[in-house]
């Protein structure tokens, strides 16, 4: 990297090397010593200074590192350094340190200065370009790339500029006319130098495509430049897409035919082929420059029916059918499903056009005969199920059963078909309408088939999936349905046991684990859910896509250390990625993969706006506040780190909330909870409408988005509200008024009022309506029962912060008739009493099944009650300053006494409320572990009849006790170890540990309140 061989920043390399070696081997002390010696010899060398800064930064001496870096920067700017001393090595070393100190701007300034001084230095300009990449300054990137290109007319520099233009168009508000500039630059370059990199061609075509210049793009693709795209199928797909976008459907269909001849199993290309052939009304993905990588298939399944005249339609269908038949004949491996599923799709198109012959059913039967044993059969057909009428579904289902029963396949294939039939039972929506007894029968049969076929897996390696693993998953799901329909807790316990049984035999089945995470969460055994979640080894990007399976439950639980660990992991992952994303983008630039440059920047944007990321940042700090509230100073210290709560207000600005992205993979959630805000089991069973597959995911997109936005908006206000509330409480009782304080206080108070309005809005209320609502509840005119947990907690928070605001500016509703007495204290107290009473009245025993109010109680006590205690503490601190306990007389004393009694009442009220919860928790844990175990076991063992909870457990027990060695050592051994009682015992213990954790929290709060009480 040095400009001159043997020299590093003007210093002989042999003198520098030992320092780098020491840094690399983390010998920082040695490194510092060597660096001091180097500096003694070269006191004015920016490179030597930069090295020192680098070592300081590595040892955590950040401030010193920054000041040393600034010293080097100063030197670079001020003195008349020569080229050798201002080389890229010096600047890049400084850059590394500045970047780690989060001061990219300073690094950029250094490079900018150097480039001004030595404007024709390629290395420096490339370094500057990299700085702008890091800062996502697309315009400056473009300018720098053009400078580079002017110095040497290399293709790569031109493409750097083209990418920078693309980024302006796609990721910022750059005008589309920039595209014609890009095109002109490329054309000029091609005329003199042509293009040599496939990705350069891709970018060129992309520029044309974005301007809707499809014909031009096609010319490029079919010319010499097009041949640079090495993978033939990629080139053809691109060509097909351009032709289709140019509305040249006939030619596009021909191209897709070619793709299918090369790749007969390419379903995406088949859909495109048929779409073009029939002129279906569809829209192509218009994503920028990622033609070679993104899935550019059309949304064909949702496409409207074609408008072709009937005879043209018929002839096109004819030709599609004959093409597909030809493909079927040519493919001999028996594995390519596409040509056969294609027949079904063709018939579906005919159906959409109004033809109602039996060919669709024929095609489906054919598909079943060939592929009915495959694990993916049901999901292949899923999108076709809505085309069939209920009668047809029943008919085809019956025919599948016939085929499967009469088939002479191997036992393995027969098992596969049986599983497919069970799956279709669910896909077609039959399970939801089955009478309870038949549903029990079906789920029993699933488990029975699993047990009877265990022997087929006897020789399998433990790493391999066992045959029939899906059966237990399906049985468990059917048992959950039975619970929903009958409310019989035993079914839910059996649903757990079935999965545990499977994991006992093979511990790697993640589908079982994921279901258990949800089931254990639902039955108040969150620690066990967390344990199973842990075995999924969720890390890196999976934290973004799958932590929704456990994170929302943890947020409202007393498992603080687990929540904190998960949040830390997640935030670290996101922060690390966001920090290094730009360097990875530059890597794509360097390796000339220009389409990846665009893709990387867009992806970074997507993750940066992740709703979970925003939520996690807020929850992380709220958790800190929940945990550290024993003294006011601790809370203030945390708030200080958050810039007094301002930081979170900034991260959840309206602009951010409006550009939220949702990256969670919700497909893997159980049917009964399609998003973390929906749980069908908590609602009455409503049969078809809720659980038919088509309806399942409707909840997700739209509603989820709004709920999430509101929650984030609301929660992000909390730290600032706490801060201002503490201030308000202090101000209202201050004995001496500081000069200029009143204006500051008035501003704070105004801000508090403004944020309260925002808070009310996030609850769907205006400020006045929210005040009215809590006032009415406190008077007993309305009840919390009319609202969900979020609203109850939200109202309580609002009341607490409103009271704090009211201390300084009285609201007419919250002022006693005497005009002096603040009744907002009483409102809070009444609300505390009401919500605790109402929650406890309807709280079920945890042991009796799901639906206890534990999460609501946890939230109430750890959030609004805790914030209220902080307000009280702030009042106490003002009223009873340390060392000022002597008696005073006069007005302030009178005020203090009155407040003291208000405050004292509030402490009593909180204390009583928490005490009641503490007592409730104690009652829950009455009795021995064994007695609790017996209660639960009796739920699954009570029925000895053929149906009802218990029948499946009986099959499992029989399977375990009658197992033979022919099952193989591993399976046999596992079955010997099976004990359903052990599983239930773990469940009971997990529930107890959750309750105990919460009880500890309550205990600590009570102790804290006691201390407060004793302080006056």
């Amino acid at each position: 990297m040095t400009s001159k061989p043997g020299l590093a920043g003007g210093i002989p390399e042999r003198r520098v090397r030992p320092i780098w070696d020491a840094v690399d081997s983390r010998q920082f002390k040695t490194a510092l010593k060597l660096s001091a010696a180097l500096l003694a010899k070269h006191p004015n060398s920016p490179y030597a200074i930069a090295l020192k800064a680098l070592i300081l930064e590595r040892t955590g001496r950040l401030e010193e590192a920054l000041s040393v870096c600034l010293e080097a920067k100063e030197l670079l700017h001020s003195s008349n350094l020569n080229m050798v001393q201002m080389d890229d090595l010096t600047l890049s070393t400084l850059q590394i340190v500045f970047q780690r100190l989060d001061r990219l701007d300073l690094a950029t300034q250094c490079y900018e200065h150097a480039c001004r001084k030595f404007p024709n230095n390629l290395e420096l300009l490339m370094g500057l370009f990299n700085c702008y990449v890091r800062e996502y300054s697309f315009v400056k990137q473009q300018q720098t790339a053009i400078k580079l290109y002017k110095i040497v007319a290399e293709e790569r520099f031109l493409l750097w500029a083209i990418c920078s233009i693309q980024l302006q168009v796609l990721c910022s508000s750059g005008g589309e006319k920039l595209l014609s500039l890009a095109e002109a630059l490329l054309k000029k370059h091609i005329a003199s130098h042509s293009l040599h990199e496939p990705e350069a061609v891709v970018m060129y075509i992309s520029i044309l495509e974005q301007q809707a210049r499809y014909e031009d793009a096609l010319d490029i693709l079919s010319g010499n430049l097009g041949s640079l795209i090495g993978i033939e199928v990629d080139r053809l797909r691109l060509q097909g897409r351009l032709l289709a976008r140019a509305c040249n459907y006939t030619a596009a269909a021909e191209i897709y035919q070619k793709v299918l001849q090369a790749r007969p199993d390419d379903w995406g290309s088949f859909l495109n082929y048929l779409g073009c052939l029939l002129g279906t009304d569809f829209s192509w993905s218009t994503s920028g420059s990622s033609q070679l990588c993104s899935s550019d298939n059309v949304d064909f399944q949702g496409g409207k029916s074609t408008n072709l005249p009937l005879e043209v339609f018929d002839s096109r269908i004819e030709s599609a059918l004959s093409f597909v038949q030809k493909l079927q004949m040519e493919v001999h491996d028996g594995l390519a499903r596409c040509p056969y599923l294609a027949s079904i799709e063709i018939e579906r198109q005919c159906r959409l056009r109004g033809k109602t012959d039996a060919k669709l059913l024929e095609a489906l039967l054919n598909y079943f005969q060939r592929f009915g044993h495959l694990s993916c059969f049901a999901s292949d057909l899923e999108c076709f199920s809505s085309t069939l009428t209920q009668t047809e579904r029943a008919e085809i289902f019956g025919r599948f059963i016939e085929i499967s029963e009469s088939s002479k396949h191997s036992p393995l294939k027969k098992l596969g078909q049986a599983i497919t039939i069970f799956k279709l039972d669910e896909v077609f929506g039959f399970l939801t309408v089955l009478p309870v007894e038949e549903l029990v029968e079906t789920s029993t049969k699933m488990v029975d088939v699993y047990c009877k076929n265990l022997v087929l897996s006897s020789d399998l390696d433990p790493q391999e999936n066992m045959h029939g693993e899906e059966l237990l998953q399906m049985a468990s799901s059917a048992l959950v349905m039975l619970y929903w329909r009958t409310r019989c807790y035993g079914y839910l316990l059996e649903a757990l046991l079935v999965l545990e049984f499977g994991l006992n035999i093979r511990k790697y089945v993640w589908q079982y684990k994921l279901s258990l995470v949800h089931l254990y969460s639902y039955v108040n055994a969150l620690p066990l859910a967390y344990e199973w979640y842990g075995t999924l080894d969720t890390k890196n990007i999976l934290l973004e896509t799958v932590s929704h399976h456990i994170m929302p439950q943890l947020f409202v639980s007393p498992l603080w250390s687990e929540t904190s660990a998960l949040l830390k992991d997640y935030l670290k992952f996101m922060d690390d990625y966001l920090r290094e994303a730009a360097d990875l983008t530059f890597l794509a630039y360097r390796h000339r993969n220009y389409s990846k440059v665009i893709e990387f920047v867009q992806f970074k944007d997507r993750l940066e706006h992740s709703n979970q990321y925003l939520a996690a940042r807020t929850e992380y700090w709220i958790l800190q506040l929940k945990q550290e509230t024993n003294t006011l100073e601790e809370a203030e210290c945390i708030l200080e780190k958050l810039d007094r709560g301002m930081q979170l207000l900034e991260v959840s600005s309206d602009e951010k909330l409006n550009s939220l992205t949702f990256n969670e993979d919700l497909q893997l959630r159980p049917w009964w909870s399609p998003s973390s805000h929906v749980n069908y089991l908590s609602e009455p069973f409503d049969g078809l409408s809720a659980c038919s597959r088509e309806n399942l995911f409707k909840h997700q997109a739209c509603e989820n988005g709004n709920i999430v936005r509101n929650v984030i908006a609301r929660k992000s206000l909390v730290p600032r509200l706490i801060y201002l509330s503490i201030q308000s409480a202090t101000t209202s009782l201050k004995e001496t008024v500081e000069p200029n304080a009143s204006e500051k206080d008035a501003n704070s108070n105004e801000e508090l009022r403004f944020l309260l309005e925002k808070y009310a809005r996030s609850l769907g209320l205006s400020f006045d309506d929210a005040v009215k609502l809590i006032f009415e509840i406190s008077k007993g005119q309305r009840s919390f029962k009319d609202f969900g947990t979020d609203m109850v907690v939200g109202c309580m928070n609002f009341a607490v912060f409103l009271n704090a605001w009211n201390l300084c500016s009285n609201h007419p509703l919250l002022l006693h008739q005497d005009g002096v007495n603040l009744i907002s204290w009483n409102v809070v107290e009444n609300l505390v009493n009401t919500c605790i009473a109402e929650q406890l009245i309807c709280a079920r025993r945890v042991l009796d099944g799901p639906g206890s109010n534990l999460p609501s109680l946890v939230q109430l006590i750890t959030e609004p009650f805790t914030w209220h205690a902080l307000v009280i503490k702030s009042c106490l601190r003002s009223m009873l300053p340390l060392g000022k306990k002597k008696k005073k007389s006069g007005l302030s004393d009178h005020l203090n006494l009155r407040h003291l009694s208000l405050v004292s009442n509030s402490i009593d009220c909180l204390s009583n409320g928490i005490q009641k919860v503490h007592k409730w928790l104690e009652d829950q844990m009455n009795g021995s572990e064994d007695s609790r175990l017996d209660i639960l076991l009796s739920q699954v063992k009570v029925m000895q009849s053929e149906t009802g909870p218990g029948s499946i457990l009986r099959i499992l027990e029989e399977c375990a006790s009658s197992s033979h060695e022919e099952l193989g050592e591993r399976i046999y051994g596992a079955l010997q170890l099976w004990s359903s009682a052990d599983v239930i015992r773990k469940l009971v213990n997990s529930q107890a540990s959750l309750l105990l954790k919460f009880q500890d929290i309550c205990g600590a709060k009570l102790k804290m309140l006691e201390v407060m009480k004793r302080s006056f």
Binding site: S375, Q463, W510, L514, Y577, L587, H591, N593, K596, L668
Partner: protein
């Protein structure tokens, strides 16, 4: 039913059903993105109807002279789509690119010595155990370096097994 196309970043958000597999490692972001930035032709994903991810292969091309070769870093298939020879298709694709586009001499890969199903599969695809790498996996389990010669290595010199095992620090590449 396999649309095989280049892997893109957004696929990272949808590959959980594949990566939950206990033998499939979920790497950090810079790992995936370095591969995408450097060897996009070696990173492919297979999609099923409904755009479900069936599996993917990631790899690279590296080395000098006669050891210029394609390398399979990961190949994995979701359980729903196993036993359909998808891994074979993905491997062929990578071999084809190494052979025809990059003119490499051979393709190699590492596999846990205990992962018999995978070893058998690679053997069926024409790979042989070239050498054993002692304690390659987290300093605990041995890895097998398996190789398959491509058309440029006419005499298949690259896949003549070594007689003795090596240690990870003797490896030529990371």
């Amino acid at each position: 039913m396999t649309t095989i196309r280049r892997f893109c970043c957004e696929d990272l958000l949808r590959f959980a059903p594949v990566n939950f597999d206990h033998l499939t490692e979920t790497f950090n972001m810079s790992f995936y993105m370095s591969y995408l930035a450097r060897w996009p032709d070696y990173f492919h994903v297979a999609e099923a109807p409904g755009n479900r991810i069936m599996g993917y292969i990631m790899g690279k091309v590296e080395g000098q002279g006669e050891s210029w070769h394609g390398h399979v870093t990961a190949v994995t298939v979701a359980c729903e789509y196993r036993r359909q020879q998808l891994a074979k298709k993905l491997m062929h694709l990578l071999e084809d690119i190494s052979d025809k586009i990059d003119k490499a001499y051979f393709v190699d890969l590492f596999v846990r010595a205990s992962n018999m199903p995978a070893i058998k599969m690679y053997e069926k695809l024409g790979y042989v155990v070239y050498r054993r790498v002692l304690r390659y996996y987290s300093g605990e389990e041995d890895g097998l370096d398996m190789r398959k010669a491509l058309s440029r290595d006419v005499e298949k010199k690259s896949m003549i097994p070594l007689k003795r095992p090596i240690t990870p620090d003797e490896l030529e590449y990371d």
